[in-house]
Symmetry: C2
Amino acid sequence: MGGGRAGITLGRMTSYDAPSTVTATAQAARTAAAAIAPLPRSAKDTALLAVADALEARTSEIVEANAVDTAKAAAAGTSETVIDRLTLTPDRVRAIASDVRDVAALPDPVGEVVRGSTLPNGIDLRQIRVPLGVVGIIYEARPNVTVDAAALCLKSGNAVLLRGSSSAYASNTALVGILRDAVVSAGLPADAIQLVPGESRDSVRELMRARGLVDVLIPRGGASLIKTVVEESIVPVIETGTGNCHVYVDAQADLAMAVDILVNSKAQRPSVCNSAETLLVHRDIAAAFLPLALDALADAGVTVHGDGEVLSYAEGTKVTALPATDEDWAAEYLSYDIAAAVVDSLDDAVTHIRRWTSGHTEAIVTTSQAAARRFTQLVDSTTVAVNASTRFTDGGQFGFGAEIGISTQKLHARGPMGLPELTSTKYIVTGDGHVR
Amino acid sequence: MGGGRAGITLGRMTSYDAPSTVTATAQAARTAAAAIAPLPRSAKDTALLAVADALEARTSEIVEANAVDTAKAAAAGTSETVIDRLTLTPDRVRAIASDVRDVAALPDPVGEVVRGSTLPNGIDLRQIRVPLGVVGIIYEARPNVTVDAAALCLKSGNAVLLRGSSSAYASNTALVGILRDAVVSAGLPADAIQLVPGESRDSVRELMRARGLVDVLIPRGGASLIKTVVEESIVPVIETGTGNCHVYVDAQADLAMAVDILVNSKAQRPSVCNSAETLLVHRDIAAAFLPLALDALADAGVTVHGDGEVLSYAEGTKVTALPATDEDWAAEYLSYDIAAAVVDSLDDAVTHIRRWTSGHTEAIVTTSQAAARRFTQLVDSTTVAVNASTRFTDGGQFGFGAEIGISTQKLHARGPMGLPELTSTKYIVTGDGHVR
């Protein structure tokens, strides 16, 4: 989820790590990756259960280390929201351990036969899922991601390089130490899980140059971090998370349903990437829908940034309304704000969306089958919702059991990424001496 | 296939194209991509058949334009092999048109439901294949690729930007003109197929910066071109083609089968990426196998670059043998040369392969089920062949009907890429007013 904004930004160099260090870490990860790639599910699940047990048994160590980070953050005047995200309590550690057990219970993607056939010449062809190899995760000040990402990578047979925020360094160091002990106790190599050394930005730069050692980088965090990694990395990147999501209310729509979906999409949890940021309303339903919708948004504490027509409807309602500019159409507010416009047609809504969307999730509310069909065909985003909230774009909601992030790019993975998205494939060609 | 070495290298700037030109081309492609993405198969197939008919009807134009390129190449002292690849005859144009009809006959990947389920809350979830959008192909002096790539992109609902070699510029200009006329005659936008303007290297650089306009770049050609694109592009890249392929003859192997597979892998068509470049032989079979193998390689005209043991076996045979260096283990010869070494075990063969392979294709020849299983588990390449030639790694051989290239990377596509590999996916979430 793309909610967090704390932590990593790539600015001026503040300290220096010996360049060999990240590279040495990546080389160790590569060796570990080769060792864990062929492991059967049982070996990996045993390690995951050992991790969960160790997290619970060593909770006090984790909470103590975390207190160092939160004290530092408080002294630095960090906002309460960010400190809350950073904080680990015994209850939260228990919840994290429980998530690891859930990952152990998921099917193993490795070895799945994706395609298979016997060719006309009698060769047996199989395409099977294999681990990616070494996965690098660059993320913000959420220590739960440290464990989640490690668990998902281990389950999918990958070695992981964790580059968390420097503001969570003590917590991450404690957590990764415990994870490594646990996987070793289960007979797996410790270097399958490593923290990227150094608190400075240079370690991120080194990761981005480690092509041939690191197979993929997944940046999770603010838009500027993601942009930097996408533009500067020569290691392949999966772009995650920015969500400028739209709700379009069609000419024919159930008004109460449309209000529910709008308010849920915007206000159920505004800080996450699948919350709605723009409302588009068909002109034919605007007079009936907007007064209801604007009052409902007001009740949910939402401020509206509207075009001229929306502002004129707002006058008779409780809502706080401001004139929208191009910045509003482009904004991922992640707050109790929404941009809103009246459009002349479904196609105009699609044109607006194509121009401004980040390609995450767009919803249509309509009773028309033709409109639903046209909208889902024309909108090119990871997820198109018909008569459902934008908030469903989520690995947990989709039944994947876990999520490493939401890809907003088109290559490799698009939308919520579960375990299969952490794999590649290889072809096995079996013959009896076949030649061409 | 990675055979060609002619054409594009990214060197010093030799002339200048207005920066707006490539960008304008990409923007036009983007608009065309939105128009063709939702088209049903019948509309795309009609256009493809119109393309095939037009190529045949206008063969003389094509051959005339091609004569300009081949004359220029001959005047520049280009090698005959390269000129042969560049040459279009009426027969070759007919073959190209026939390939286009074959593409029309393939199933449409767009719209395929990859996953689908009803979630516990009643939401219907479908993951469907959609076009990538705008695909950029950067390739060498093979004008047949111009038509092949355009046909595969059109069939998969993508707009294509073709950046061929400057040495095929007249041919490509004629071909793309004919392709555009044909798609327009079928009611599709001409800008679905465009030649990237300009003969200079700057147009490649501009393509690599066109993130947001171009969805993927596929470089096909020499290793230095591919390396440059991979390292410098901020548009996502699919790396293709370098093939340092290995044949490993296990301790237990049918000798005649092993000789057949070795000679076929090396010598059936040495200039292509799936030909073998290194032979590894288990010590226990070396004395029985190598004398036969080296004579067979000699008969096929192959020079062996061997380690000390291979050289000692070579003495009693007809083969020309030279001492191997690290450069030989790394080499993609693409010629009648092969590196050869004796190894102590299957695991040592795997270690050698992991160190030197480009990750394309490795074959084992063995009668042992355990050895076959271990080799396929431990070797991490796009394709592992058991008792079959490395030459089978090919979209046509795999039954894909067509191939846009062979990916040697792990993200998105690995191995031969057919039509499904030219697509992304999107999720459709359908509810009845569902909220969280």
